[in-house]
Symmetry: C2
Subunit: 355 residues, 2 copies
Amino acid sequence: MSHSIAVIPGDGIGNEVMPEGLRALEAAARRFGIDLNYTHFDFACCDYYLAHGRMLPEDWFDRLKGFDAIFFGAVGDPARVPDHISLWGSLLQFRRAFDQYINLRPCKLLPGIRSPLAGRDPGDMDFYVVRENTEGEYSSIGGRMFEGTEREVVIQETVMTRIGIDRVLRYAFELANRRPRRKLTSATKSNGISITMPYWDERVKAMAGHYPEVTVDQYHIDILTANFVLHPDWFDVVVASNLFGDILSDLGPACAGTIGVAPSANINPDGTYPSLFEPVHGSAPDIAGRGIANPIGQIWSAAMMLEHLGHQAAAQAIVTAFEAVLTEGDPRVLTPDIGGQGNTRTLGEAIAARI
Amino acid sequence: MSHSIAVIPGDGIGNEVMPEGLRALEAAARRFGIDLNYTHFDFACCDYYLAHGRMLPEDWFDRLKGFDAIFFGAVGDPARVPDHISLWGSLLQFRRAFDQYINLRPCKLLPGIRSPLAGRDPGDMDFYVVRENTEGEYSSIGGRMFEGTEREVVIQETVMTRIGIDRVLRYAFELANRRPRRKLTSATKSNGISITMPYWDERVKAMAGHYPEVTVDQYHIDILTANFVLHPDWFDVVVASNLFGDILSDLGPACAGTIGVAPSANINPDGTYPSLFEPVHGSAPDIAGRGIANPIGQIWSAAMMLEHLGHQAAAQAIVTAFEAVLTEGDPRVLTPDIGGQGNTRTLGEAIAARI
Ligand SMILES: CC(C)[C@H](C(=O)O)[C@@H](O)C(=O)O
Ligand SMILES: CC(C)[C@H](C(=O)O)[C@@H](O)C(=O)O
C-alpha cells in the first residue's frame, strides 16, 4: 500500500529539521517496506506571503485534501510578517478546514534528557495532552471599535459548541480507557471564565457517565500548570480547550526537558481529510540558519504520522532509535539545546542509522 | 494615623490562615506604633450564600467602600456552591467594583523552601507578575443558544479596552523602571488569539516608547510558561492579561516551591476605593478543617497591605520574620506542605514572635 504525503517545511528551522524528519521516515519505510510518496510544497511560509500577498495559493484546499497526511515543519517569521497573519493564513487554517479537531501531544521524559524538575526520572512523566484544535478561544469573531481613541474597545469571542467539545472529550476518554492507569484530567477555569468553562465542565461530567472505568478529575488551569511542575506523575491523559491545550503542551514538554523534541499530531479522526504532523516548537527565528535546531520534534512527528497511517512497528522503530541515541548521549552527535556540540544533521543521521 | 481594615476570611482554609495573618499584623502594628482598626465580616462565603441566596448583602458596596483596605482570606466551596457563583458573587465583584485594576504578585524563591526546579537558589527567581484585574478574558458577556440540543453553542467575549490595558502597562513599566534590572516581559498570544492579543501587543509597543530605559521583551503564553520552568532567572516584571496573569501567578509560585506562601495585592492605585490583599491560594476544601494550611500567603499579604498603607518598615519586618523562620527550618514549626510536622498556628506564632 502506498501513502501520499504532502511535505510543507514552512519557515526558519522548519526547513532545517524537515530533511531529518524525512530521513527518519525513509529509513523506517525502507526497513518495513512501506511505500511513501512525497510531494513538496513551497507555500505556507513567509517568503510565499511576501511574493504573493497570501500564505497559500487559492486552490490550496483542493491541492492538499487528497493526501493521506501532511508533514509540516514550522511557520512564522514575525520580523517580516505578523504572526497572526502567517499562522491564521496557514497552520490554523489547515486545522480548521481539514477538521483536525484533535491535537495530540505526548509529554514524556526521555532517557538522557535532563528535566528541569529536580529528581525526576523517565518513569515520572508520561502523559498525553489532548487539545481541542478547531474552536474555543481561537475564534475569528470580534473586532475593534472607537479605533485610535481613548475609549477604544477590542472584543474577541470564545466559541464552544456541544459537537466540538463532545468529540474531543470522546477521543480523550477513549484514549484514557486504553491506557493502564485509565485516568483523565480536565483543564478548566470555570471559577473565572464564567460562561464557556462551566459548560465545558458540564460536558465532561456528561461524557464521564459513559466511561465508568475512567477516573476523572479536573483542575483550574492556573493550579494545573502549577501541578505540572509539582506533580507531573499525577497525569495520564489531560484534555483541554484550544488555548489551555496550547499552554499545557508547551509546559509539559518543558518539564520534560525541552520543547525541541516534542511532536504533535493534528488529527481528523473521521479520515475525511488528511491529518497533519508537526513538531510543537515554532520556526525559532533566533536560531534559524545555524543548523543547530533539534530535529527530534520533527522525527517524532514522523513516527506519529506512521502510526496514524497504520504502521505501528515502523513508528515504534523510530522512537526506539531516538531513545537509543539519547541514552547513548554522545556529545558530538547531540544538538546544543540538549548539551551536545553536534548539529541538526549529526543528530538526524545518528537516529536514521539506528532505524 | 489610624487605618480601618475590613477583614473577610471567606471559606475553608481562609478561616484558618486569617487569624495568623492578623497575628502578624498586630505584632507589626505594636512594634511600629501603627493603629489598625478591624471590622470583621461574615459574608463572601458559601455559608452566607446558603443562608441568604447571595454571596453579599445588598449594601455591601456602601459598607466596604470607606475602608482603607480589605484583608481577605479565600472563597469557594465547589461541593456546595458552584465556583463561578461564589467567585463572581464576591472576590471578582470586589476587584471590579473597587476598580482594583492591578493584581500584583511576587514570585520569589524563599530561603529554606525547596524549589521543584533542579539546582535553583533564591537568587535565581525574584520577579513580579503584574496582572490586569478587571477586564479581558474574565468578562460577563456571553451566553448559550440551542440549549440542550446537538447544535448547542456557548459564547463568551473577551473585552479589552485601551484605558484598561494602558493603565496596567503604565503600572508595570513604572515598577520595572524602579527595579535595578529594568526589564519588562509581556505575555501575549497574538499568533493564535488574533484580535485582542495583537491589540495588547500594540499598546505594549506604544507604552514602551515612554520608557526608553526599560528593556522590553514578549513571549507567547505557551512558551512563556515553558520559560518560567526553564529560565526563571530571565524575569523581572511580567505583565499579563487577566487570564494569563492568573496562570503565571500560580505557576511562578509553584516554581518557587509552593503556592501556599504566595501573596497578592489587588490594588486600586488611584486610592478611590480600598485595595484588597489575599493569598494566591484558594480555600482548599481538601485540607480545610485540619489546621495544617500554610499561613505565609496570608501573612505575606498582610505585609503587602502595610506597604500599601505607607508602612514600608513594618512590611519589611514581617517579610524578614517569615524568611528567618523559614531559614531556621524547625520541622516542629513548619507546616506539612513545606516539609514540617507543625501546623497553621505553630508557624503563625513563630513568625509573629520574630516580628
Ligand atoms: C478563584 C479565582 C476566580 C481567582 C482568579 O482566577 O482570579 C484566583 O485563581 C486568583 O488567582 O485570584
Ligand atoms: C503557532 C501557534 C499559532 C500555535 C498554536 O497556538 O496553536 C502553536 O503554538 C502550537 O501549539 O501549535
